[in-house]
């Protein structure tokens, strides 16, 4: 298989997304409106949590800053994943209108083209909001900073992004084969994100098990956060689980890449 080097892929991604940015800039006002509204909507989302904390002191044993830490970290991870791979939920439409065929004809890996497809800067709205929330959490939460905790923060964000991206790719692979099927990826990414915004201690243990062992989104922020915020694990898993996010991310990405390739091998195009 003639794999383009990583640099070549990044370049191609840059070329294609830049093309989309430029063509969306053509409608500058709508671009600004979209960016602001996406920022405002996500901000209202966090405001709901603040309002809740007006009447309670702790949620599942977590203070408002600590919940902001969870909220900010998962939102950042999803924000980045959505920024780079948000177009993966349109694979089905790309199959139906035949443009996936066109992508398969270009000397750039198809996944890179799909991810850059209709690259939208307005997706930065969510990232921006998450940066603010996460920054506020880091500044105000009571964290005993040690070097391992410091290192765990960027590792958590990178792995979290990778895990969400892997889910988006898996859902995209599914759409290659079943282009008419409803998009199931968003249920896992947005659904997972909404769950992870709160301490998992508020959910039944079966749910925590499910997001650990079945769809391991808990590795996006929950396990590293247990170590950073110095909390006990409700499932009593060994301590190394709190450092296992890279492993979870690697497994997820590996599975996603395999499924994506298998999906393209079984791609059937359209009849016309």
């Amino acid at each position: 298989m003639a794999d383009a080097p990583a640099l070549g892929r990044a370049r191609a991604y840059g070329l294609l997304s830049w093309m989309w940015i430029r063509s969306s800039m053509a409608y500058r006002t709508s671009f600004v409106i979209l960016l602001t509204s996406s920022f405002a909507i996500t901000f209202l989302d966090f405001a709901a949590i603040l309002i809740m904390f007006a009447s309670v002191d702790r949620l599942g044993g977590f203070s408002v800053s600590e919940v902001a830490f969870l909220y900010g970290s998962t939102s950042l991870a999803l924000g980045f994943a959505d920024l780079f791979g948000g177009s993966l939920d349109r694979v089905g439409a790309r199959v139906r209108d035949g443009s996936l065929d066109a992508m398969l004809l270009r000397p750039v890996p198809t996944l890179v083209q799909i991810m850059a497809d209709q690259f939208a800067i307005r997706r930065l709205g969510r990232v921006l909001q998450a940066v603010l929330v996460f920054g506020w959490a880091l500044a105000t939460a009571d964290i005993g900073w040690t070097w391992d905790r410091v290192l765990l923060v960027p590792a958590m964000l990178v792995c979290g992004t990778a895990i969400f991206l892997a889910i988006l790719v898996l859902a995209g692979a599914f759409q290659v084969l079943a282009s008419d099927a409803a998009d199931v990826g968003n249920a896992f990414t947005y659904g997972g994100n909404t769950m992870l915004q709160y301490p998992l201690t508020i959910y039944p243990t079966e749910v925590v098990r499910a997001v650990t062992f079945v769809v391991p989104v808990a590795f996006v922020n929950w396990y590293p956060a247990l170590h950073i915020l110095d909390r006990a694990d409700p499932l009593n898993l060994p301590t190394w689980w709190q450092f296992a996010s890279p492993l979870a991310a690697a497994v997820m990405c590996g599975v996603a890449a395999m499924c994506w390739r298998a999906a393209l091998r079984h791609y059937r195009s359209t009849g016309s």
Binding site: M1, A2, D3, A4, A12, L15, L16, M19, S23, D97, G98, D101, A102, L104, L105, R106, P107, V108, P109, R265, H266, Y267, R268, S269, S272
Partner: protein, 317 residues
């Protein structure tokens, strides 16, 4: 050496049909069935067949979009589906039915983006672009987004786009669909030139036999996924059940003439039309008519290629 090798290739599709609200029947469609052929560098081959014969499926396999269910494929020495990204630099593809360009981008920007994606050196790109703009008359279209172009204009844009990176092979799936007579003939001229001057190997499907007559020495006919004819266009006449017509003008109106090997299909006063198989020699029939009747004039009509093909498709229903 052959540039394209297709060796016993098949491709099936499993389709599920709703027979009632709950039941679904599984059906296997053999879109391409045990197909073999080779194409040599520099050839321009016409690939024809009735609707649903498997032409587009073949092209999608040759480009690596579809993986064959069985058989062996080599294009420029590469296995298309396994080395798809590598092969992409060496082929150009035009699907007449839909564009491969970016809908919202002006044609010029689409071309510039393709240059970067294919890493075409700037000087070469400019040369190619200038040539195509002139030959395909794209000058006034360059600044227009693809979605604003008419079908024929878009097709010209697509063809230029497919050739910008100097591919060795050009696949054209119904490139003349929906074009007017003038555009068609301009496009044919362009393709002839691309094939001759740039030595691009061309495989084209079409339902317009004039395309084939004017462009391709070799024609392949596919039906139900099988190759049913592969050879010179002229040879098609002799193939299948094509029939030639002997038009006889007798000196006086007469009942239908009776000679071996030919049947009268029409009588109009002194003129009679006799049909006989295209591959049979006309000489004995002419001799028999001349010997038995008082003949004023004789002429032989070759079957139109359209009729030959129609007969071929019909016979295989």
């Amino acid at each position: 050496m052959s540039l394209i090798e297709v060796d016993r290739v098949s491709r099936t599709f499993v389709v599920r049909r709703k027979t009632s609200t709950l039941r679904r029947a599984r059906q296997v469609v053999r879109a391409v069935d045990d197909l073999s052929f080779t194409v040599t560098a520099g050839e321009m081959v016409g690939y024809i067949g009735p609707n649903g014969a498997g032409k587009s499926t073949t092209i999608k396999m040759l480009t690596g979009i579809l993986v064959p269910s069985s058989g062996r494929l080599r294009v420029a020495g590469l296995d298309p589906s396994a080395a798809r990204v590598e092969l992409a630099r060496r082929i150009g593809v035009v699907f007449g039915q839909r564009t491969t360009l970016w809908w919202d981008l002006p044609l010029r920007d689409s071309f510039a983006l393709l240059r970067r994606i294919y890493r075409v050196p700037l000087t070469r790109f400019r040369q190619n672009l200038d040539t195509f703009v002139e030959l395909l008359d794209l000058g006034d279209l360059l600044h227009r987004p693809v979605r604003q172009l008419s079908l024929g204009q878009r097709m010209r844009g697509d063809i230029a786009a497919a050739l910008l990176h100097d591919p060795d092979i050009l696949y054209l799936d119904e490139p003349t669909i929906g074009l007017d007579v003038v555009s068609k003939s301009a496009l044919r001229g362009f393709l002839r030139e691309v094939n001759a001057e740039r030595n691009v190997t061309v495989l084209l499907t079409t339902h317009d036999l004039v395309d084939i007559e004017q462009l391709c020495r070799r024609v392949m006919v596919i039906d139900h996924g099988h190759l049913v004819y592969d050879g010179e266009l002229a040879g098609l006449h002799a193939f299948g059940n094509a029939r030639r017509t002997l038009v006889v003008d007798l000196s006086d109106p007469a009942p239908p003439v009776d000679v071996r090997g030919a049947t009268v299909t029409r009588v109009d006063g002194p003129r009679q039309w006799l049909e006989f198989p295209a591959q049979a020699s006309a000489a004995p029939i002419v001799a028999a008519v001349a010997a038995g009747y008082d003949v004023a004039d004789l002429s032989i009509q070759e079957p139109a290629i359209e009729d030959v093909i129609r007969q071929l498709y019909l016979d295989r229903r």
